[in-house]
Symmetry: C2
Subunit: 152 residues, 2 copies
């Protein structure tokens, strides 16, 4: 089995292409993909606890806090005490952050519209079923269980 024949190679390569594209597009706005993701993951009305952003975005706390610091310096976000959690912090978007959130959203929607418009619905459906199956197999810890025998 060559790397090009494995499913993980294609998933990784595709994710890396997307990340590169998003970073290039964000660069046109003086931003990065990570900044765009934070903008999209912060609730524009209620704010979002800083501790829940990392898990949502799948990035590590140290990387996240670097991104948040940078965003605060750029005037995209504000930190406010969380009234429901004495030691917690809520991240809010500034008006400028909300504007930039709209740009980030447009970029994500555009990419997805282009992809969906190029592909028959059935293929996209199968694509999502495959990712779903992979995630289930992994989260159920079936892959590396001695007892499990692939059924072919």
């Amino acid at each position: 089995m060559k790397p090009e024949e494995t499913i993980d190679f294609h998933i990784k390569r595709t994710w890396q292409s997307i990340a590169k594209m998003y970073n290039e597009e964000a660069g046109k706005y003086g931003a990065t993909m990570a900044i765009g993701f934070v903008l999209l993951n912060v609730d524009p009305k209620e704010g979002t606890p800083s501790t829940s952003l990392g898990p949502k975005m799948g990035i590590e706390a140290t990387s996240l806090s670097r991104v948040l610091k940078n965003m605060q310096e750029q005037g995209l976000i504000e930190r406010r005490p969380n009234p429901k959690d004495g030691r917690g912090v809520l991240i809010f978007l500034t008006d400028f952050g909300k504007e930039k959130r709209a740009d980030a959203k447009r970029a994500v929607v555009r990419f997805n519209e282009v992809v969906f418009s190029e592909l028959p619905k059935q293929k996209v459906k199968h694509f999502f079923e495959v990712t779903e199956t992979i995630n289930e197999l992994i989260s159920s810890k079936k892959v590396y269980t001695q007892a499990y025998e692939p059924n072919d």
Copy 2:
């Protein structure tokens, strides 16, 4: 369009699940996914120029050099001058590295066998067609061209 409805969300999430799983599996052998990938990407007979590993693996030069240093300390690889490039370095696997390469290969093959055995061929075919289309759209720079109008 919610994040869960975008194709990039699912690709990212699936790649992160796979990376987590590979890191956990590699951990059982005292290794990491990155070490496993280097073992798999080094030609076990001819060696591989260190400069070609980064692009092959899609990781940055600074991360790669940390991984290679670690692997050399563990006796998995050796660096030798590249006879075809005066300033270049070839990475070779030691006998211990070759043993560990077989473990890494087994883990990758196992994961792929389990995935393929759970899914009808047609779905997997469509999955690969979708990733191919995405990669083509991105590399042809079609996504963020003003002129391009999604055809639906």
